[in-house]
């Protein structure tokens, strides 16, 4: 069976992307959830994964091409997926190559792209950068267009990009175009949030509670662990939100086409600031079902990739509820805006010492202000209140998270 591999939706108000690199060649088997391609979007580079177990039969679009959501990027064959993948169908098109390691899209073996004979998609009229060079340019905050204007008709490699970047640095009016990416990001955030404010009847609730249980438990827990395995407060909040969302319905899922569809899977989006400005909220998948250690490793990996500009589409698009935090440098209360089509977002302020009644007398206690913005088309304040209180109760017994 022939499967069209299309550019999936990239989220609110992002209708185009530029193909940066193929991670597979014709003849390669691809597993469900495995990355096939890297695209460049207003939110940085994103790995696009396959929804099927299949074999790549044809790469339709060439790297460099700007394509719309829904465009057929490649063709896959489902028959080849089961058992040992046969390669003869595409053997003429591409010599067999070793499979990329199972390490996943984090470590794609940098291999030369397969030569594309007359791609059916738009011809790559933009900068002719090698995939590695494109990635490097992205890391350096240089737009491919700016490079193309300077070096027309020549294929640029990593060294060229670095040389041009160095030249640009020496000459202030040169290539550096990071503000472009920043304003594109602002536009994306702006239109998603405008849509949220326009369409979603938000209601807001807040709950302040003694965060001492989490603090005390974490100090004890972390004291026994090496730096790399220590947990952070925000992660416990994420887990508590996931567990509360599993217990109380109406906060986990999407509002689409006039009705709410709850999601059984709980993927918690975590708002992460991008370097140089902007914000994304990639998801910790199945956060309710993973232990804290696993979640911490995944969260750490997620933050690193966001902060260095490399996300996967599945975590970027699949959040069913979001948690946002201003971090320990922030203020004590945040009033968040729902990220459509989700229906709830939980905010955590900075934990501060406050005068607080504790065990019958006044004491200085660490206090967390938890806030909720939820969709009134789905729930009311009463349910929202139960939801927030459940999160607080779960955090009162951190050892059970």
């Amino acid at each position: 069976m022939q499967i069209d591999f299309r550019l999936p939706s990239l989220g609110a108000d992002m209708e185009h992307a530029t193909l940066a690199q193929w991670l597979k060649n014709p003849g390669d088997p691809v597993h469900r959830g495995e990355a096939i391609a890297v695209v460049e979007t207003d939110k940085g580079l994103i790995d696009i994964e396959s929804y099927e177990d299949a074999m790549v039969t044809e790469l339709v679009v060439a790297p460099g091409a700007r394509i719309a959501v829904g465009t057929v990027m490649a063709r896959l064959s489902a028959e080849r997926a089961a058992g040992a993948p046969a390669r003869e169908a595409a053997a003429a098109a591409a010599p067999p190559q070793p499979l990329p390691s199972a390490a996943g899209p984090l470590a794609p073996a940098p291999k030369p792209p397969a030569p594309l004979a007359a791609p059916a998609g738009a011809a790559p009229r933009r900068a002719r950068l090698s995939p590695a060079a494109r990635r490097r340019a992205h890391e350096l905050g240089i737009s491919p267009e700016a490079l193309e204007q300077r070096i027309a008709g020549k294929i640029l490699h990593v060294e060229d990009v670095e040389r041009l970047a160095a030249e640009a640095k020496a000459r202030p009016s040169g290539v550096a175009v990071a503000p472009d990416a920043r304003s594109a990001m602002r536009a994306v955030i702006g239109s998603a949030m405008a849509r949220a404010k326009r369409e979603i009847p938000h209601y807001y609730l807040g709950h302040a509670f003694d965060f001492g249980a989490v603090r005390d438990w974490l100090v004890r827990h972390n004291a026994t662990l090496p730096v790399s395995e220590r947990l952070i407060e925000g992660l416990l909040v994420v887990k508590a939100v996931a567990l509360a969302a599993a217990r109380i319905e109406g906060f986990n899922g999407y509002f689409r086409d006039g009705h709410f569809a709850r999601s059984t899977a709980i993927h918690v989006g975590t708002a992460i600031a991008m370097r140089g400005g902007g914000l994304v909220a990639p998801a910790l998948l199945d956060a309710d079902r993973k232990d804290l250690k696993t979640l911490m490793l995944e969260f750490s990996d997620l933050v690193t990739r966001v902060r260095t500009g490399h996300m996967r589409l599945s975590e970027f698009m699949t959040a069913t509820i979001t948690v946002t935090s201003l971090g320990e440098d922030g203020v004590e209360t945040i009033y968040p805006i729902i990220n459509p089509p989700q229906v709830a977002i939980v905010g955590t302020g900075c934990v501060r010492e406050r005068p607080w009644v504790h065990a019958g007398s006044m004491a200085a206690r660490p206090v967390l202000n938890l806030t909720l913005a939820a969709d009134h088309r789905v729930t009311d304040g009463r349910t929202g209140s139960r939801f927030l209180k459940t999160i607080a109760e779960l955090l009162a017994a951190p050892e059970k998270l």
Binding site: P226, V227, I232, I272, R275, G276, R307
Partner: protein, 91 residues
């Protein structure tokens, strides 16, 4: 280990986490987060990277001592001269 060597390695770790940092403009006595975009997760990753790079254990309550480059440098040096490998109890 020479202070200059520690410093060079710390700067390398810092710029891996935050590639936009220009070491030339970094004030070594001021907290890094007051100078560049360096959030709490970056600070955590910095502590993790230092621990791994120098094979020293860094208790959580010492994280604030890694805020400024100069202080971080002194901290690592003190840890190393105390024989603070990860197997030792450290501070």
């Amino acid at each position: 280990m020479e202070a200059q060597d520690i410093r060079t390695r710390l700067i390398a770790l810092l710029t891996t986490i935050a590639p936009d940092i220009d070491p030339a403009t970094l004030d070594p006595v001021q907290d890094v987060r007051d100078q560049v975009d360096f959030d709490s997760m970056d600070r955590l990753h910095f502590a993790m990277a230092i621990s791994e790079e120098f094979d020293i254990d860094i208790p959580e309550h010492d994280y604030p001592r890694l805020g400024a480059l100069q202080k971080a440098c002194e901290y690592v040096q003190a840890k190393l001269s105390a024989g603070g490998s990860s197997s030792a109890t450290g501070a």
